[in-house]
Subunit: 147 residues, 4 copies
């Protein structure tokens, strides 16, 4: 099984059409990414404030929306990271109803992807993924028997 992040949809995430605002879905996916980093003991505050002069900004994202989400819905976000190059990785997210969390579910609610590049903020150049990130990719990928 991939890393799975559970979450209840909150009122502030909905819009006047009565369902989750489209861009919010990517925010939910990023929360799952944060939870998976914390699961291997990466310090989120230091990591995301680029305390070490290193950052891994998102350079590309995509999402497909199959079903609307409503306030109170319990969702499960399954996340699979993959290293793309020395400097980059991407994460695929499958969002489903928490009562059907399996990746074998025929009907996910949505799917999304984020692509990240490791940067040295001083030189403004690409930098190899840090050992922490390589370990995180390995740990989360290993957790997935289908890979």
């Amino acid at each position: 099984m991939p890393f799975v992040y559970g979450r209840v949809i909150r009122f502030h995430e909905t819009d006047a059409a009565g369902v989750v605002y489209f861009a919010r879905l990517l925010t939910l996916c990023h929360e799952a990414y944060e939870a998976s980093l914390a699961a291997v003991d990466i310090d989120l505050k230091a990591f995301f404030s680029a305390a070490g002069g290193m950052a891994v900004p998102i350079v590309h994202t995509e999402a497909d929306f199959y079903q609307p989400l409503s306030c109170g819905d319990a969702i499960a976000i399954a996340l699979v990271p993959k290293q793309l190059s020395l400097h980059s990785f991407e994460i695929a997210y499958t969002i489903s109803n928490q009562h059907l969390p399996s990746k074998h579910s025929e009907e996910p609610l949505a799917w999304a992807l984020t692509r990240h590049v490791c940067m040295n903020l001083h030189s403004r150049r690409r930098h190899p993924l840090t050992p922490d990130l390589v370990d995180w990719i390995g740990a989360v990928a290993l957790a997935d028997p289908a890979d």
Copy 2:
């Protein structure tokens, strides 16, 4: 003990000063309110979309900020509702570090309040709190041995 909602601060809740954006604290408090309603089996989707022609909009809010919150911080929001009149109630929220969730903590991180009035959306007039809400106030208040 009052109803307590636990939550990890997420990256999107921070701002360029490196800490949680002030108005986000009220969003976190509203999440705690939602969780406490769900705990007594109120249907959140129906409740917040005013499906029955009844709504309880917030007419007043306040907050005091004592300490900044950072990405990755685990917080606990303790919530105490109180009926104010036939038509209205307020909720007091105490936000503390999750490792010190007690209301006896000497140093909460923040404090907030929301005041709600029950409205009939057809007549645009005040309406007595529904039995569901009166029961919710009683249940959450009963949960608090200090009251």
Copy 3:
């Protein structure tokens, strides 16, 4: 020239890395979409609350991020809609510095896309784009001499 929406980046749109949170860029693009609808006198409240039983939810989105955006930056979002089928359209957004708003700018800050399908909310089936939307696509496309 395509329809262009100008906007200053606000503090709440930044995160603890000091720049605009990635998913916020899509929110900015949706604001540009709203402004372009209002420019042809579509009533935004009715349109987005699906007052007529018709909605045009976003079924796909993508974005590429070339440069970070900071609080106070004045950006220009140029928007080009295109009808894809009887029932669907997409919008391409080019985000640039407002002081270089031209589509001929060599270095946009970001690029994004949203794909929309017109739905009848009662039947839950696809519905031909309403005349309002077809007119909007024509008006905004006509505004672009390069198309």
Copy 4:
């Protein structure tokens, strides 16, 4: 006249009750504060990232909500700052329909307040308001003939 910030309500600011989410109102007020700082040439990026080791965090906020706001509504936020002590100031915000922007309007849509304390981030102690801020308060207050 006080400093007035005009703004159209956007879809992402609404919730499933069909109106602006309560905490969003404070975000709109903070935008007005940012616009008023920019009007006296304060660099927003430097100011809000505490580039000079000085920050003016919000320590208290309140708001009263009189009327709901909908997607597409054009609002005007009138802002009046007031110095409270050597180290602190507060800002009162009156939110009204943009077609009735006067402070003499009988029916504002909402009212809010933020209280700010100047801090030296290195010493973690209060610091006198910087000359920039004192000048900003004077300039915006002078702009108000009623004060």
